[in-house]
């Protein structure tokens, strides 16, 4: 059974009749996907682009018309990889031209003629698939050719290395370091240019020199040419007798002159090449061979060139050569550590270099060792320099307007499939927002969950979106995202949405998309939204449970303490009093009438307490029959305490006679530390107890040490005397 994939056509037409006529006309050799409107078509395209071979597009459609679909496809470059045939009854030539300008391959007018539709569709598909195959062939051939020539150059370089008995990785190192410096220089230049353009716009007409230093932006291709040429910088050494080249001892002046001539020999060899004289690679190699021993101050050889007379390619290779010579082991010397080598070069111990290049060296110093190691690894792993070459040829091809291969599309499709699977499994609303054109894309699950479409154009004007979220919240999120930086683009916030008439809490984690690391232009955001409603409600419940005494519903001691500490901290200028009271003879209530009755008394007391205190007073059951209250006061707290005490004492509960003992401590007297306040109030309460109960009393620091020792009856203090007497 032939399992050959059928070609797939996406038909976007709002009329079911029309779609079905087309499907019948085109017959069994194709697979079809149908879309009822532009939005649906676009959403299908975004998800399944790689498997769709052709889009048949109607212009007049609800939701989003065909022209908008084409515009979106242009914005996302989708139009380059998916051919489009427009079907329309349109006869206005201007309109038809507009459609062609939007990049469609063909136009079919109504009414459909079976033969015409079939032929146009097949032709278009064949054309595209041929083009794709050709592209892949071209890429493969360019890659193959690049690989061969690079390999040849490397072999040449290694011959020299071998003859030179530089068994290390000299050629590789020179190439790597040269490339590193070139890249860095090129990046710096780009930045300078950007800065230059900016200052130019602001009216400051600075000359290019005004921006300072080398202006040197290179394409990938030029960087590759120079660093490849660098591999044969010493090719002239082939012409030097081996016994001089590899003489272990010191060279005589004559011998040194012979060695020096390798620069000119190399240059002459290249000059004598019968062909390729105009090739950039040969030109660069010539410069490098001849002048990689020149120095910036004119003291190098063979021509004694000075400053910028020396081509930049040769200057860079000279620097790389010196660095590698220092850091490699040779017959006559040990390897010098990286830091020392860089310092020696910077100090001018190996001759003068262009200060700009030295600056470069300083700036990339930290990355050199790592890059060298990586390039050695790559070389060892590949054995063939496929990687870079592919990058290069791809770049070249893409610049010529060609496209990526089927294999890449396949991989992309695989990633999409994976992404969709995980997105659906995670039960998260995943979104992607782009500013221009303003659109919001939701994951399939997310769209279903929120009851929105997967693709929403102009989401900030969309009534369904605005029904779901407050405009204020959307603006808050937008402001937060715009407030991020490319270095720290993540935003987390909780967000309340309206759904099915209720409110739900969602947590949003978003990442702003910034274009370019330098200019940093906000382009939109991606992110996810997780339903945290249940968790949040549960947390609130748990918090409620954890902070309250289950029997009386008052705060428990822990929660009261936190509240009180917060109040003290929030209002540093206010005065507060903390009171603790308990029930006198409560044990009798339990013993006589049972614990259940005792509990009822406690509940009754809690209600009595809540009735009598003003709003803002913290009340709590500290434990057993002990209660706490905490209140703010202006001038005197005595009257308030007196009022509360009397109200608490007022009336019995069923057969049980209610009497309380109450101790008070004021922040004025003992300060604002909670534990000190509590302890002081407890001491005051204790002294009331010792005096027989049924009173209240303020804590007084002067008597604190003696409180528990003195006779409780004498313990009345300040002006609490009569008020503190047993009420009724």
């Amino acid at each position: 059974m032939g399992k050959e994939r059928k070609l797939k056509i996406l038909i976007a037409d709002d009329s079911e009749m029309n779609r079905s006529i087309l499907i019948d006309m085109l017959g069994d050799e194709f697979d079809f996907i149908e879309a009822e409107n532009g939005k649906e078509a676009l959403s299908i395209l975004k998800k399944r682009s790689a498997e769709i071979d052709l889009l048949l597009l109607d212009i007049m459609m609800p939701e989003m018309d065909g022209l908008d679909v084409l515009r979106q496809m242009n914005a996302s470059h989708e139009i380059v990889s998916t051919p489009v045939i427009v079907i329309s009854a349109e006869t206005d030539p201007d309109k038809i031209k507009e459609v062609y300008d939007l990049g469609v391959t063909d136009f079919i007018g109504r009414p459909f003629d079976e033969a015409i539709v079939w032929h146009r569709v097949t032709n278009t598909i064949m054309l595209f698939s041929k083009q794709k195959t050709l592209e892949n062939k071209v890429i493969e051939q360019v890659v193959e050719k690049e690989k061969l020539s690079k390999m040849m150059i490397n072999i040449l370089g290694h011959i020299v290395e071998f003859r030179n008995q530089e068994s290390g990785q000299h050629v590789l190192h020179i190439r790597t370091l040269t490339e590193l410096i070139l890249r860095h220089l090129s990046e710096k230049t780009k930045k300078k240019r950007a800065a230059g353009v900016r200052s130019g716009q602001s009216g400051n007409l600075s000359s290019p020199e005004g921006t300072g230093g080398l202006l040197f932006d290179l394409s990938e291709e030029e960087i590759a040419v120079i660093s490849t040429a660098a591999a044969i910088h010493d090719i002239g050494k082939i012409g030097i007798p081996g016994e001089i080249l590899n003489k272990p001892g010191r060279l005589t002046d004559e011998e040194f002159t012979v060695i020096k001539s390798h620069t000119e020999i190399g240059a002459a060899m290249l000059d004598a090449l019968p062909a390729y004289q105009d090739e950039p690679l040969v030109r660069r190699a010539y410069e490098i061979c001849r002048w990689h021993h020149e120095r910036y101050d004119g003291r190098g050889y063979p021509d004694g060139l000075k400053g910028d007379e020396i081509p930049i390619s040769a200057q860079i290779v000279a620097l790389a050569d010196v660095y590698d010579a220092l850091t490699s082991e040779r017959v006559y010397k040990k390897a010098i550590p990286h830091e020392t080598a860089v310092q020696m070069i910077l100090d001018g111990q190996c001759g003068q270099f262009n200060p700009e290049l030295l600056e470069c060296l300083r700036e990339i110093e930290g990355t050199i060792c790592e890059e060298m190691r990586r390039s050695e690894e790559r070389e060892a792993a590949l054995g063939k320099n496929g990687d870079d070459t592919v990058n290069l040829s791809r770049e070249v091809l893409e610049r010529k307007g060609l496209m990526i291969s089927d294999r890449t599309l396949g991989l992309l499709e695989h990633e999409r499939m994976k992404y969709r699977f995980f997105a659906d499994m995670s039960e998260e609303v995943q979104f992607e927002f782009t500013l221009s054109p303003p659109s919001l894309m939701l994951s399939e699950w997310g769209a279903a969950y929120l009851g929105l479409d997967e693709v929403i154009m102009n989401p900030l004007q969309d009534p369904k979106v605005l029904k779901l979220a407050n405009r204020k919240d959307i603006e808050r999120l937008s402001a937060a995202l715009r407030g991020t930086t490319p270095e720290d683009p993540i935003v987390k916030m909780d967000y309340c949405i309206r759904q099915n008439g209720g409110e739900r809490w969602m947590k949003i984690i978003g990442r702003a998309i910034w274009a370019g690391s330098d200019s940093a232009e906000y382009q939109g955001a991606i992110g996810k939204m997780i339903d945290v409603h249940e968790t949040r409600v549960k947390m609130a419940e748990l918090e409620e449970m954890a902070s309250h005494d289950p029997m009386t519903g008052l705060y428990n001691h822990r929660a009261a303490k936190i509240r009180i500490q917060n109040m003290i901290a929030e209002r540093p200028d206010c005065r507060f009093a903390l009171a603790i009271f308990d029930l006198d003879h409560f044990k009798q209530a339990n013993d006589t009438y049972g614990h259940q009755f005792g509990d009822q008394v406690l509940i009754h007391m809690a209600q009595r307490l809540q009735r009598v205190v003003r709003a803002g007073t913290v009340t709590s059951r500290v434990g057993g029959d002990e209660f706490l209250l905490f209140l703010e006061y202006k001038e005197h707290v005595d009257l308030a305490i007196n009022r509360i005490f009397n109200a608490l004492m007022n009336g019995d509960y069923e057969q049980f006679h209610i009497s309380v003992s109450l101790g008070v401590a004021k922040t004025d007297t003992v300060g604002k530390d909670y534990d000190t306040l509590f302890h002081a109030a407890d001491q005051a309460l204790y002294s009331v107890k010792r005096a027989g109960g049924g009173q209240f009393r303020f804590y007084d620091s002067s008597s604190s040490e003696t409180l528990s020792a003195i006779s409780p009856i004498d313990g009345c203090e300040e002006n609490t005397g009569e008020n503190g007497e047993k009420g009724e």
């Binding site: 709002d14 009329s15 079911e16 009749m17 029309n18 079905s20 006529i21 019948d24 006309m25 007049m60 609800p62 009854a89 109504r110 009414p111 459909f112 003629d113 079976e114 033969a115």
Partner: protein, 118 residues
């Protein structure tokens, strides 16, 4: 009633449609399918609700289908209605709408007779 007679009754061009769609079977299939197309209902509701954007689209679709099936009479009137609605010329559209209604009724009645005879 033959398909050709049906086309004569609805004032369409039978020869032309068979020329384009190649087989009588295909033409028959879509002619019968025309009875289930929702565009006419959409046109009527949209016109009643004075929703002229939707009415325009519905007229446009009827025109397209009419053209594809060579229902020439219906195609012509729906074409005129489409243009009037495109220009939001409601006064002009009113009589054209009546014409489309009449032509649609004629078309559907012819197809029903044909359907009953096969």
């Amino acid at each position: 009633m033959t398909l050709e007679e049906c086309y004569a009754a609805l004032e369409g061009d039978y020869k032309e449609v068979v020329g384009r769609l190649r087989t009588e079977r295909l033409v028959q299939k879509f002619v019968l399918k025309f009875l289930n197309d929702g565009s006419y209902d959409l046109l009527v509701t949209s016109m009643e609700n004075q929703n002229y954007d939707d009415a325009f689209r519905a007229a446009h679709t009827i025109k397209g289908v009419g053209q594809n099936l060579s229902f020439n009479k219906l195609y012509k009137s729906s074409h005129l209605l489409t243009e009037a609605l495109r220009n939001k010329n409601i006064e002009e559209a009113a009589p054209l709408y009546e014409q489309v209604k009449a032509d649609y009724a004629q078309t559907v009645s012819a197809i029903r007779q044909y359907e009953a005879s096969i």
